[in-house]
Amino acid sequence: MIKFDVHKQFKSHGSIVKIDLKADCEEGKIIAVYGKSGVGKSTLLRMLAGLMNPEEGFVSVHDEVWFDSAVKKNVKANKRNVGFLFQDYSLFPNMSVMQNILYGVEKDYDKDFINRIIEVSDLQDLLKRKPESLSGGQQQRVALARAIARKPKLLLLDEPLSALDGEMRLKLQKEILAINKIIKTTIIFVSHDLPEVFKLADEVLVVEEGKFTKRGTPSGVFVNEKTDMIGELISVVDEENTKTIRALVDGKIVSIDLPK
């Protein structure tokens, strides 16, 4: 079980944002944190990873307390065993793809596991290349492989697919699902892309004005309810194998296929 209850105030784009986010998440699930930009979604991930401290609060992962302001406990980022996928990939330019992937693992690492990750991420032919020679999608795949190579207790993805085009997005979405099956770790990812939330998440937490206002399965949260922020449901088409939902989100029509 992953539990957190974090409070922080910070400046974003000139205005003060206050966040009070509290939730507990079941192990092994993929959880989306959904909301408009600037509401503190990335800040939440950074606080979970230990890259930023809450002013007050509590973070525990599998009964291990990582942060507790009441007893002034704060486990440093490098001792937390998280995987973190940064928006801009942040690959180390001085290292090859393979060196990047192995950077965080111990010397006596599980070779089969690493090979499997490389295979799932389709990186076999790129291992000796330097990050600068890779495309955005390839860099993102390396960054993801690097983040999971050390089998983190918690995998945090900050807008993981925002910089990628349609086809590459689909490929990586599949990859994240495949990886989740292999390492069975809890994944928390930040997104403002509704189809992505539907595709990946077991559960979604909606952030509005610094608080979680809704929680549930993506279809439970977005389909059964109608809110100004999420948009309006236009139609639901039932077919033999899938159910297609069309909704108006931020002025755009979004079509989502749900398995039945």
């Binding site: 990873a49 230990g50 890259l51 440093k76 980022a77 490098n78 001792k79 937390r80 065993n81 998280v82 995987g83 973190f84 940064f86 801009d88 942040s90 690959l91 180390f92 330019p93 001085n94 950077y103 965080g104 330097k130 600068e132 690097r146 983040a147 050390r150």
Partner: protein, 222 residues
């Protein structure tokens, strides 16, 4: 016959100064880049002072500080049996202080130009600050390190005011630049010409090699 001793002293001084500076400038630059501290600007100003201060002023204060009549000089003499005024170790101390900004500033600029997320990515992959510095930060600012090394080395070779004040014109402390001045004073223009030409060619060769190397080797890693 050319007397090579001043050149050997110059090279020895430049190597030792550069080596010491390299070791101390990395932690200083790291601290100046990443520490959050209200009065950091004061430290930055102090470190940069040699850039604007006349070398003779710096040399004068160093001489006053380390002379046998001063408290510091007395203390060093009594406790460590070290005399810095008009000795080679004194030249090294003076050179290190004088060239400090030439090593610190390029390295600091290198750190500042690296994206913060590189450091953070390394932390989330379980590495400590020291491991991150050695394996991620320093290898990605190679050209800044090289610039710092070359500038400090070249600056030490070209020193005049500080070494004259701190070392005087003795056999042990007569570096090339002072030997030239000395020759001119003695109206030995041939020697002055030879020394000057050697310094000119040597300095030009070093800089040419460095720029060539920098262009070829570090284009990828900025």
């Amino acid at each position: 016959m050319i007397n090579w001793v001043p050149f050997l002293i110059t090279l020895k001084l430049a190597f030792i100064t550069t080596a010491i500076l390299f070791v101390i400038a990395i932690p200083i630059s790291y601290w100046l880049t990443y520490a959050k501290f209200k009065f950091k600007f004061l430290f930055e100003a102090v470190i940069s002072l040699p850039l604007v201060l006349p070398p003779s002023v710096l040399g004068f204060y160093l001489l006053v500080t380390f002379s046998n009549q001063s408290v510091v000089g007395q203390f060093l003499q009594d406790v460590f049996d070290v005399n810095l005024a008009f000795t080679f170790p004194g030249l090294v101390v003076g050179s290190v202080i004088y060239s400090l900004p030439f090593m610190v500033q390029p390295i600091q600029a290198g750190f500042q130009n690296l994206p913060t997320a590189l450091k953070e990515a390394s932390y989330t992959l379980g590495k400590s600050r020291f491991q991150t510095l050695i394996r991620v930060l320093l290898p990605n600012i190679k050209s800044s390190l090289l610039t710092g090394i070359v500038l400090s080395f070249a600056h030490t070779i070209g020193e005049f005011g500080v070494v004259l004040m701190m070392g005087g014109n003795l056999d042990e402390t007569r570096v090339a630049s002072i030997a030239i001045y000395d020759s001119v004073n003695k109206l030995e223009y041939d020697t002055a010409h030879t020394y000057s030409l050697i310094l000119l060619v040597f300095s030009f060769a070093i800089l040419t090699l460095v720029y060539l190397f920098n262009k070829k080797g570090f284009k990828a890693v900025k």
